[in-house]
Symmetry: C2
Subunit: 337 residues, 2 copies
């Protein structure tokens, strides 16, 4: 096999605030043939996630930052086009850290095989992928919701939020979403079966929560941080639990992060606030994929992807996340098979 032309987005500078075009360089290279145990993967779909903004910062986090000049880290699904790993013959579909590029050569053992006959490929970046695992384990393992309890989730129409809400409903909870705009709110109630939804663009979140959660909030799954976290703390029920999954409202701050001023509600209500990093549950992913795959097949759960085409749109498409423009999991389509 001759080598192929490959294009990449590389991190050119650490962004201040929202990533701007000059924080990226678009480069061209040739693919390298797979060595023993390696495969050459053609990227089909890339997962665009709020967490990517954190990976662009310097400093300690749960994962190493992307280096300046490195290909931007991204999860993706693709197809094997050359193989020196007998477990992944040409034509195998895989998911893994493909990076923002058209092709990658990497050890087969770092990739998971996926089956396009069981679910469309983008779903492996959504409900059956990292956001799905995050919502499933964050809600069930950290939040431990009980039937009849009130579960609130922000970023409700996003990749993680839509999983959290649907799993909570399946577990017998009352589910209130928080999302921006009437369309997203209508979507999570009418299409996903949430009990109600707070539109943070339509008046006081605190007042809407008070009305929609008269018994208080037993579990709050936080994807956004900022004022909404504070509003949920105010409405926390006795022994309430808050899952800290993300803080998209704060990722592009050029001023210090806004800490939750109402955190003493944890004292008054004997509440708990706890972080989740999905990779801690890697050994249990099979359990979640079986459960959610079953619910998808039975029509008890829906996946939702917001697919934008063209690797060249990457810098701008990523910003949709921070503008709150995506409905469902934001996916970048890089190529047809």
């Amino acid at each position: 096999m001759t080598s192929l032309t490959n294009h990449q987005y590389r991190l050119a500078a650490r962004p201040v605030g929202l990533p701007k075009p000059s924080d990226w360089t678009y480069t061209t290279s040739e693919t390298t043939p797979p060595g023993e145990g390696e495969v050459l993967v053609k990227t089909l779909y890339l997962s665009l996630d709020p967490a990517m903004r954190g990976w662009m910062n310097e400093g300690k986090s749960y994962i190493e930052p992307v280096g300046i000049g490195d290909v931007m880290r991204a999860l993706g699904v693709g197809v094997v086009v050359a193989s020196a790993d007998p477990k992944l013959p040409v034509g195998s579909h895989v998911s893994g850290m493909l990076g923002v590029q058209e092709y990658s050569t990497q050890p087969g053992r770092r990739l998971q095989q996926v089956d396009p006959r069981l679910a469309p490929l983008p779903v492996y970046l959504s409900v059956l992928g990292m956001p799905g695992m995050t919502g499933y384990f964050g809600l069930l393992e950290v939040g431990q919701p009980q039937p009849g309890e009130t579960v609130v989730v922000s970023g409700a129409a996003g990749a993680v939020g839509l999983v959290v809400g649907q799993v909570a409903k399946l577990k017998g909870c009352k589910v209130v979403g928080i999302a921006g705009g009437a369309d997203k709110c209508r979507y999570v109630v009418d299409e996903l079966g949430f009990d109600s939804c707070v539109d943070y663009k339509a008046g006081s979140v605190k007042a809407q929560l008070r009305e929609q959660c008269p018994q208080g909030i037993d579990v709050y799954f936080d994807n956004v941080g900022g004022d909404i976290l504070d509003d949920c703390l105010t409405q926390l029920a006795l022994h309430g639990r808050i899952i800290i999954c993300g803080a998209i409202s704060q990722y592009n701050n050029t001023t210090p992060v806004k800490g939750p001023a109402n955190y003493l509600s944890l004292l008054v209500n004997r509440g708990r606030m706890q972080g989740i990093v999905v990779s801690d549950y890697m050994k249990q992913y099979g359990e979640a994929v079986r459960a959610m795959g079953g619910w998808l097949r039975e029509g008890k759960m829906r996946s939702k992807e917001d697919i934008v085409s063209g690797i060249e749109t990457f810098p701008d498409t990523l910003l949709k996340l921070f503008r709150g423009e995506n409905l469902g999991k934001l996916v970048l389509k890089v190529a047809d098979e």
Copy 2:
């Protein structure tokens, strides 16, 4: 028995910031003789606690606020001087909510009998009282420290802090206190056996914590909130736990409470921040009193009270807490037996 003259401090106004003299009225009344099941208690010692500041505010908390015109709520120990409760004959020593007054008539069932032969009476307001129970259950039940882990406690020379640190040492932990001034730091290290102590008045808390907790903080018991909570979040170890017991730095704020800007450390480190209210553990108090009473008798633990005499000093003595002037449990001596 004829009635006795009784003096009280009543809440005159809800304080803005630090309570000032005009927030109190000092009143005189006559005692009422005990009705059936009641006793008349002569107050000997009163417990002055940071939590009292919260009880003076309007609004929802874990306990009703003190009403304007009501006798200020306070724990205390006293002696029964008239009794219509056969379980508590005259001469019995009791602890309970006596209020900031010289005498109180109340149902015997609301009081706990204490034995001055087992421990000096002020100790029943300290290690064997509410602060002791708070430190014991907050640390062990919420913090769940393991031998070899690093436990940090702020307000280390205060009533709760000194219990937390000593119990953590007895459980095999490395213990680092945080206190204000060289005297307090020396006290908790030399007298109480803490491994070291951060003096928050002597330079950067963050830098001192980094030096004294090179493995990070596994358990942080927070009595103070504010910047120190943020500094501890920065140094949190993987799976670290933060016990929110109080926030004395914030109680007299006239501006909004400072939320912990570094709370996303809970995400990065999969940490947990959880509130404690001691009354939730009331059914287990016996267990803690037996354990700590045993340690006191065996010389493995010390109690420490900072005793100020005279009920008329109450408004000013209370402020010692917020000025950080007390070493050990702040107690107001109201009368000799």
